[in-house]
């Protein structure tokens, strides 16, 4: 068809207006092709296995014994009860190959080597991490949380640290860029998503100048998070200008047992004096300069003072894991300026580098200790039964529990479970708010005695599968800023209301509920 005759036709796009988005067809094609190849390989392995089983003749007996062994392993594992139930269901239904799928998905076996490497890095870095003085918190609940974080993950509680909250990605990144432009020694950046666009250009413009003036710039990104949005030519350009760019868990077209394990952290550390964490990634939609799902509500926190060292330690450990070299840790610590702030700040991370599920446990502890108020902002609400029951119990005990969710979803199937869980909570008195015309991506917990700001979603992936970063604090000034943001956001929300509960919706909800512990 000639260009002229094509110009004579109407656009099939039904929208009156469309804003530029970062989605790119090649990315989808790449992920689709990889998924297909992985699936084909998986089918091939299962086929080989079935042929072998058929030839051996004792297949049924072997399958039965392996299924029983898998169930025993599974029941004795530290997975959540809901996840155990789903896996037993899978093993029983597909009993000839179910146990095979279970062992393939189990990080206990296939992440063992990586965990060993992390342990080695941890013990090396712990020796080089100094002692920091911390003020005794007046609230015993904070004391208990600090103790929990210390004993479960070895996280240090800091004081003399200032924290500032940013209620949007735009404000957050404006501040980040301003601070980076003043960097003198090093800039460490770790993001789940880095996407080509105006924001990345702003970053690269400053970072290139900094590298030229001798600043050590290192960037870690997650390969799945960046698929299709962070092209090879941009990565090459970044490397060519002297920035050290590292990929976490590269996507490869083979059965990758760790494909599900992702680095969801968002960290920026500048000169050991300033650190940032939060929900926003390095892409234009986070500053609303591109539109994906309506208005993008996000946030983050800036930390200045000794607590920055906690974030530096987090970054360097991940860096050492990826480079397989041990850094000179002491070089990057103790650059901070002490602030006159008696509040407690605990930078913490969670992920498969540790044995426990720190994020989930801390959320549970904070929820259980709230006495007057518990405000949450999250894009997804797929917690396990224990957390759901805790929220219900708190609401029934008279605690003011409020949850802000998006009105526009990014993942429709997860949103369906989110809304189902929200409806269940609403029946017990939890107030659910949907932010109109927006996608809420902030991950905030505001209790009457503390706040948690970071990258941890209220879902199973964040609790069990992904590497996350966050700040726990009892800073009253910061808590007031977060509260003010909650109050402003409530005004832009509508109550959940009744959803159309058709038979199809009910059926979909049932299926999704079964698999939700695996999400």
């Amino acid at each position: 068809m000639s260009n002229r005759s094509r110009r004579a036709s109407r656009s099939p796009d039904k929208s009156v207006i469309k804003i530029r988005t970062e989605k790119n067809g090649f990315g989808k094609l790449k992920v689709g092709a990889i998924a297909l190849l992985v699936l084909l390989q998986l089918c091939f392995f299962i086929y080989l296995y079935l042929i072998f089983a058929w030839i051996s003749g004792v297949f049924m007996l072997i399958a039965f014994i392996l299924s029983v062994i898998s169930c025993i392993f599974l029941l004795s594992s530290n997975r959540s009860p809901a996840s155990k139930a789903v896996w037993i269901f899978i093993i029983l239904i597909f009993f000839q190959v179910g146990y095979f799928l279970y062992f393939l998905s189990s990080d206990k076996y296939f992440f063992r080597k990586s965990r060993k490497r992390y342990k080695k890095i941890f013990s090396y870095s712990d020796e080089r991490f100094g002692a920091y003085s911390v003020c005794e918190p007046s609230d015993c609940r904070v004391k208990e949380d600090i103790e929990f974080l210390k004993k479960s993950g070895g996280f240090t509680a800091f004081s003399q640290t200032d924290a500032k909250y940013f209620s949007s990605g735009g404000l957050f990144f404006d501040d980040v860029l301003e601070k980076i432009s003043k960097a003198e020694k090093f800039v460490f950046i770790e993001f789940f998503i880095i996407s080509e666009g105006v924001l990345l250009e702003r970053f690269l413009h400053i970072l290139t100048e900094k590298v030229k003036s001798g600043v050590d710039v290192r960037i870690i990104y997650d390969d799945l998070g960046c698929h299709g949005a962070f092209p090879r030519r941009v990565r090459k350009r970044i490397r060519n200008c002297g920035i050290k760019l590292m990929t976490f868990n590269r996507l490869i077209p083979a059965v990758n047992l760790m494909l599900n394990i992702r680095d969801h952290r968002k960290l920026i550390i500048i000169d050991g004096k300033t650190a940032y964490t939060g929900g926003a990634n390095l892409a234009d939609e986070y500053t609303n300069e591109a539109r994906l799902y309506g208005y993008w509500k996000d946030g983050g926190v800036r930390v200045e003072g000794p607590a920055v060292d906690g974030f530096t330690l987090m970054f360097l450990r991940q860096h050492d894991y990826l480079t397989r070299k041990l850094s000179d840790y002491e070089k990057y610590f103790n650059h901070f300026d002490k602030k006159r702030n008696a509040s407690v700040a605990v930078p913490f991370s969670c992920g498969l580098d540790r044995d426990g599920f720190i994020g989930k446990e801390l959320y549970f502890n904070v929820f259980s200790r709230a006495q007057k108020r518990l405000y949450l902002m999250t894009p997804y609400l797929v917690p396990d039964e224990a957390l759901l029951s805790m929220l219900i119990s708190k609401a029934l005990s008279g605690v003011d529990v409020r949850i802000i969710l998006p009105e526009i979803p990014d993942k429709p199937y997860v949103y369906r479970i989110t809304r189902n869980n929200a409806a269940k909570l609403e029946e017990s008195g939890v107030k659910i708010y949907l932010m109109r015309d927006s996608f809420v991506h902030s991950k905030l917990v505001l209790s009457d005695y503390c706040a948690i700001i970071g990258s941890i979603n209220l879902d199973m992936r964040s609790f069990y599968q992904q590497f996350e970063s966050a700040l726990y604090t009892d800073d009253k000034e910061l808590m007031a800023e977060v509260e003010a943001d909650f109050e402003r956001t409530f005004e832009e929300c509508r109550p959940q209301g009744d959803e159309k509960n058709t038979l199809v919706n009910k059926a979909i909800a049932c299926v999704l509920k079964i698999v939700s512990p695996l999400m």
């Binding site: 656009s11 039904k14 009156v16 469309k18 804003i19 404000l171 404006d174 702003r202």
Partner: protein, 175 residues
């Protein structure tokens, strides 16, 4: 440097809405930097806007702007819905009439009995009646839908005006 002093946004729009959109975006502080026709479709234009980066109330403006964009798309949705019910109705009547004609034709083709010819004529008459009544009812539905959706479009345009007014107020522009 422009990269740090300005925000940028690129918009793809239907030609008939482009001017209105440009005016509305102006209320949000955006100025048009480029406007060009789509290479493939005659009814589509591409516009690029920029505005100062450090604007007060930028987040509030952005939320309002999303609502403006959704409102614009709502007008398009309503415009598309105008003929929908009447088309469904007309299609139903047309299929019914066709059925009558087919039945009548079959009767004439296979039997030459006078009673059957009368029945076939009745079926043809029924087909004609169906077409007439279908046209009448479809037209009525169309007129009613046009009125309903025009009212909704007017309401949405009023909503757009309110949003623009709020944006102007946030930017400190007096009426």
């Amino acid at each position: 440097m422009e990269l740090f002093e300005k925000d940028f946004i690129k918009v793809k729009s239907k030609r008939e809405a482009a001017e209105h959109l440009e005016r509305c975006y102006g209320d949000f502080g955006w100025s048009l930097t480029e406007k060009k026709d789509d290479k493939l479709y005659y009814d589509t234009v591409h516009m690029a806007f920029s505005r100062p980066h450090g604007m007060p109330y930028k987040d509030e403006l952005q939320l309002l702007q999303v609502r403006l964009e959704l409102a614009f798309n709502k007008t398009g949705k309503y415009a598309r819905k105008k003929p929908l019910n009447s088309l469904i109705c007309a299609f139903f009547y047309f299929v019914s009439a066709l059925l009558f004609v087919c039945c009548g034709a079959l009767l004439i083709l296979f039997k030459s009995d006078i009673a059957l010819i009368i029945s076939a004529s009745a079926l043809f008459a029924a087909a004609l009646f169906t077409i007439a009544s279908g046209s009448f009812i479809s037209l009525k539905i169309y007129r009613s839908d046009v009125k309903t959706y025009d009212d909704l479009i007017d309401k949405t345009i009023a909503e757009i005006e309110v949003l623009c007014k709020k944006a102007r107020r946030l930017r400190g522009i007096n009426e």
